[in-house]
């Protein structure tokens, strides 16, 4: 009986220790949340600050790619970032007729594999300057350092900062950014549906 109690106490202590220390991924990547037990689709829908982009992934059907084996990194603009798109952004997201345009914009925010801010900054350091990653959209994404902040710029010149959460899932990573990589002023949104 004593041995059972002792073992139980040890197990409880070990569990507390593990909880306190976090996962190995979190230990090696400060600021990164380990959700490798969940898929990207789950993680994206759980991050409260990116509900708009999560909704866009669902409405376009692109959340399906976040449920599979393949790894993707999503640069997820915050809800505030979408808000700054103004009325055009609202129209774009609200009207199903623009679904293909939204899907195209989301692809611009997706990169193959799992990226972390540490890996990006390391690559910038190693390269002695900006680095590029291919996207699933229309252009490559360029990462650079602006002081201590990592910036990302697409081929159209839209730029954002990686200033938010980073969550690693079983099949990729979510990196929150503060601006949508889309110049809505360049979009011609009429009409969304046939007239």
């Amino acid at each position: 009986m004593k041995r059972f109690i002792a073992n139980t106490a040890m197990a409880a202590a070990l569990a507390l220790t593990l909880t306190a220390c976090g996962s190995e991924i979190e230990a090696e990547n400060p600021g990164v949340e380990d959700r490798t037990g969940d898929t990207m689709a789950d993680v994206l829908s759980d991050i409260g600050s990116v509900s708009t982009v999560a909704s866009a992934f669902e409405s376009t059907g692109l959340n399906g790619v976040l449920e599979g084996e393949a790894n993707y990194t999503v640069l997820a603009p915050t809800d505030d970032a979408f808000g700054s798109l103004g009325a055009t952004g609202e129209t774009l997201l609200a009207d199903e007729g623009y679904g293909a345009i939204v899907a195209a914009a989301l692809r611009e925010h997706m990169v193959p594999g799992a990226l972390t801010p540490d890996a990006i900054s390391q690559a910038i350091t190693d390269n002695g300057g900006p680095v590029t990653m291919t996207s699933f959209g229309n252009s490559e994404l360029t990462f650079a350092m602006d002081g201590d902040i990592i910036t990302v710029t697409n081929g159209a010149g839209a730029s954002a900062n990686l200033t938010g959460e980073t969550v690693v899932a079983s099949n990729g990573a979510v990196l929150t950014i503060d601006t949508v990589l889309l110049d809505v002023s360049s979009l011609d949104l009429s009409p969304s549906t046939p007239e």
Binding site: L62, E67, G68, A100, V102, T134, F143, P194
Partner: protein, 332 residues
Amino acid sequence: MTYRIGTALVGGVAALALAASPAAFAQGKGNDKGNGNGKSNSAAANKGNGGNGKAKRDQGNGNKGASASKRGNQGQGNARNGRDNIRKIVTGNNGNGNNSVRKIVRGNNGNGNRDSLIRVRSRDGVDIDVGFALPQLRQAFTRDNRIINGCPPGLAKKNNGCLPPGQAKKVYGNYSPGFFGLSGINQGDYFYNGGYLLRYDAGGLGGFLPLLGGALGIGNIWPRSYSAAPLPDYYTSYYGLNDPRGYRYADDVIYRVDPETAAITSVAALLTGNDITIGSPMPRGYDVYNVPYAYRDRYYDSPSARYRYSDGYIYEVDPETALVVSAIDLVV
């Protein structure tokens, strides 16, 4: 039918950088590349007999410190005479005899289209066929013919769904096909309308393309006139597409569809479509380490190797030459 090299056959494959190998990737090669029946049995493939475009097995060993590159007679072989073009790259010799030798043999399918089959020699000296044919994947969707003639049925039913060119320019949004991830399609003026990209040329409406998230949205029936091609076996395995009737692949997007109704049920995967070829430079856009976490304990950057993930493979890149050294199969 997919054949794979089992663990028992290849011995210590599990300890290798390269896991299993879907040698049947060559399946269907004979359809458009003039290389006869390309269906490959992994065991038989080791025999490397010609006549089906497979790479010959290279028996070389003990190439201590050697680095050799041999290019076969590209573009001259054909299925009938069974002459394969073979490219051989020997790298990574650390002076440990066979165990340190990695050979990558790239077969030519007989008509100048390279990369039909790649065979990797592991550090244990075991040859493994890697079903791998990126050019075939890229060519699976025929770019030249993919624009569908006429006005989309869904728009044609509505008045002014496809306006004459002059009015179209005033009414529809003008977009580049590249905005939607489409590349290499015919020139013309393109306009967005109702989930389609309409192409206008000098003769008027030149055709249309259905778009991801639009006409190719969830619940919509796959347009019968929008041709899609079967994916190589490796990709169907990696993306879990067991039923050949249950998916469509077009323009670097894989869709799941209901096998009976052809209704799109989900978007299964996006592909970069990058042509990554062993022995060639890694394309731009892979500067950052992006290996999936599940593989990071084995494939991490070091002074002697870099690893990058793309479209279901991890690629080993030589840091000095920036050449792709090997492709690591992630289908177990």
